[in-house]
Amino acid sequence: MSEVFAHILTGGLPWIVLGTAVGIFVGAIPGLSGAMVISLALPMTFFMSGEDALLLLVSMYIGATTGGLISATLMRMPGTEAAIMTTLDGYPMAAAGEPARALGLGVLASFVGSMIAWLILALLSPPLSLIAVRFGPYEIFAMTVVALSLIATISRGSLVNGLLAAVLGALVSLPGVDPITGTLRLTFGFHGLDNGFALLPVLLGALVLSQVLVDCGDAIRPMSATRGGSCVVMRMSDLARYAWTFLRSSLVGTWIGILPGVGGTTASIAAYSIEKAVSRTPERFGKGAAEGIIASEAANNSGTVGALVPLITLGIPGSVITAILLGAMVIHNLNPGPLLFAENPAIAYTIIGGVLVANVAMLAIMWLATPLLARLMYVNKAYLLPPIVVFCFIGAYSVSSRLFDAGVMLVFAALGYLMHKAKIPTGPFIIAYILTPMAEENLRSGLVIYDGSYLPLLTRPVCAIFLAVAVAFIVWALVSELRSFRKAAA
């Protein structure tokens, strides 16, 4: 095993640093995704050893999740899907004159989240993955319902607008291939819609291009740098002050990451909502709360690392990127699967060690880069927006190599802009759009498994607990909404 770690720190190190840096870079640019760069890098790794190939790809994976926070914080544009929740508090804090602190908190949270998940990966992978496979479709459905019910928490204060946005998001997720029967639905015979409204065009349109439109609408004027803001990037005191937020969000993120088919995005949605729910001052969320940034970033990074647990213990990929990693292992004849630990422990430990070193590399790169990146906040947006638009088109086109998806992106850009003008939040829209198919697929899969019976939803303990939590969240949101409404009326 010591040979494995010796290799990681010598021959493997350049690949890790390269992979992390490239990952952060593409993660930061809306339109370029980790999945995209990893699939581009995959054929290039044919000429590398299997170990080095895995180190490079895993580092890209870690870097890409972290990079998303940069654009989310500085421009209110999630660089990756998993950074959606980071925009909610990262941008307000940066806009209030503290971009370096907002970035620093995000980086620190990413690092802490990754490290906690890494400890779990290194120590508890086999037992946890056995619990994870016992999580069937109904359990995942019930958990998704909890995450959906949290929309009510997130949109407190404007519950009606939030729910309106969520319903719209759910509807947008419906056309395309029926997840169970495989037949086409709601495509109206129009083949462009056969694949539905794909994630990347919707995300880039509704969250990124719409923000470009909003920015263009405001008179483009660089923010004055004289507003100062502290130069301190990370404060160790934050670790103690927000210790529970770090810990809760990382554990929630790791567990959600381990579950097959549920990824870092859901993890950060759940962790953010939980922090808001337990906070004594929930009204600060969405206005630059440190806990909001920490929750989102700790959870998405721990979810990213958590997704490696079923991959290395059972050979089950939980996300698009881990599926590509699995493909890389097959190509390099590393025979991934339930026997990897037993028969090829060097590979399992290469991944585990690689994650650790990549985490440290990520922290170092981001630490060095943060003061420079923070100055982007004061750069004239007229220079930043055009390249972002170009990258958005590249990203949308890349989904199925066709221009139709770029059109979809433009439609959702217009929709996102209108929602902004109408003060309807886009957060619940995109959350419902992402979670609805997950809920539908698992519910209907469960119905097939249990011969059409809904009863196991109540008799399986995990399902019942989750559903009770969901009901509690909804009731609580309604009651507090009603109360604040009465207060306002009185």
Partner: protein
């Protein structure tokens, strides 16, 4: 000045004359291979391995470019080839997922709307049950299914290229069981291990990977697997079925014969290289090159088999 112009025109004409014979020589620009699935899967892996071999050994005078056009069970990318100019510069690599979509009428095109170029590999499946299962043999499994129609749960994908051979097995055994929409082989493994399904069709690498968790009941190839010489084939047990993914290359209808030959030659030469042979072995599949009339006959039979069990597939398609 005028002389110069004439000279230029003349040389341009001469140059174009020189190009003319070359124009008949296919190919003169990059050939695009559309893989209608995402990066990292079996389809993408084979395509990338063949591409790398073609580039490395100069098997084509032009670049050979792999484009992933994922979406709607392969139909998004397949349509791009269906609509492409039939000039040999756009080709498709897909397995029987195309037949499944056509047989079910999810798409209006059929295999007849394409020209087969070459068949590259075959990857056969086996019937697996969890290690803890009460079924020790395929006969026991089917006997149970006959007594309890619809009760067994098979982890699969509804309407996919493995649902059809499952339906063939059901129709030959004169019973039915339930198909649980699950996903690819690793998700099926999770479903079997988690106790949510009773059986699944798994690819051959899982013979080794799943040896502690799965019990193979029957090989679904024409012959026994080298990796599991003791595992009987379904044919031996009296069921005339096989479940093998055939990875084939296609060109748009009316693509010139010469262009198809050039590409098929390059792909066949690529398959023979050590690199691709190694990749195929690693992925648990086997080279199974077929071309020309043999390929057409194999496709016709394969597709007929699919069309033959459409009713069973529909009956087990859940709601």
């Amino acid at each position: 000045m005028r002389n110069l112009l004439i000279a230029l025109l003349a040389s341009a004409a001469a140059a174009s004359m020189a190009i003319l014979p070359a124009q008949a020589e296919f190919p003169e620009k990059p050939v695009k291979l559309i893989v209608p699935f995402s990066a990292g899967g079996g389809s993408d892996g084979l395509a990338r391995a063949i591409q790398a071999a073609i580039e490395k050994h100069d098997l084509l005078p032009v670049p050979f470019v792999v484009v992933n056009a994922d979406g709607a069970a392969g139909t998004v990318g397949t349509r791009q080839v269906l609509d492409a100019e039939p000039n040999g510069y756009t080709i498709l690599q897909i397995h029987q997922e195309m037949f499944a979509a056509s047989a079910l009428g999810r798409v209006e095109y059929t295999p007849d709307d394409f020209e087969p170029v070459i068949q590259a590999t075959r990857g056969c499946m086996f019937v697996a049950v969890p290690e803890s299962s009460e079924f020790k043999t395929l006969e026991e499994l089917i006997a149970y299914a006959k007594q309890n129609p619809g009760k067994l749960k098979q982890a699969d994908d509804i309407g996919s290229a493995t649902h059809f051979p499952s339906a063939m097995l059901m129709s030959q055994a004169e019973t039915e069981w339930t198909i649980v929409p699950t996903g690819g082989t690793s998700k099926r493994f999770a479903s079997l291990k988690g106790g949510f399904a009773d059986l699944a069709f798994m690819s051959t690498p899982w013979l080794e990977r799943g040896k502690n968790d799965l019990r193979p009941l029957a090989a679904l190839g024409m012959e026994r697997f080298d990796e599991a010489p003791d595992l009987p084939t379904a044919q031996e047990l009296g069921y005339d079925i096989s479940a093998c993914l055939m990875r084939r290359y296609w060109a748009p209808k009316n693509t010139p014969e010469e262009a198809i030959k050039v590409i098929a030659d390059a792909i066949e030469a690529a398959i023979e290289t050590d690199e691709v042979q190694e990749y195929i072995a690693n992925s648990g599949e086997e080279a199974a090159v077929l071309r020309g009339e043999e390929l057409r006959a194999a496709i016709a039979k394969d597709y007929q088999d699919y069309v033959g069990v459409v009713d069973v597939v529909k009956a087990t398609s859940g709601q």
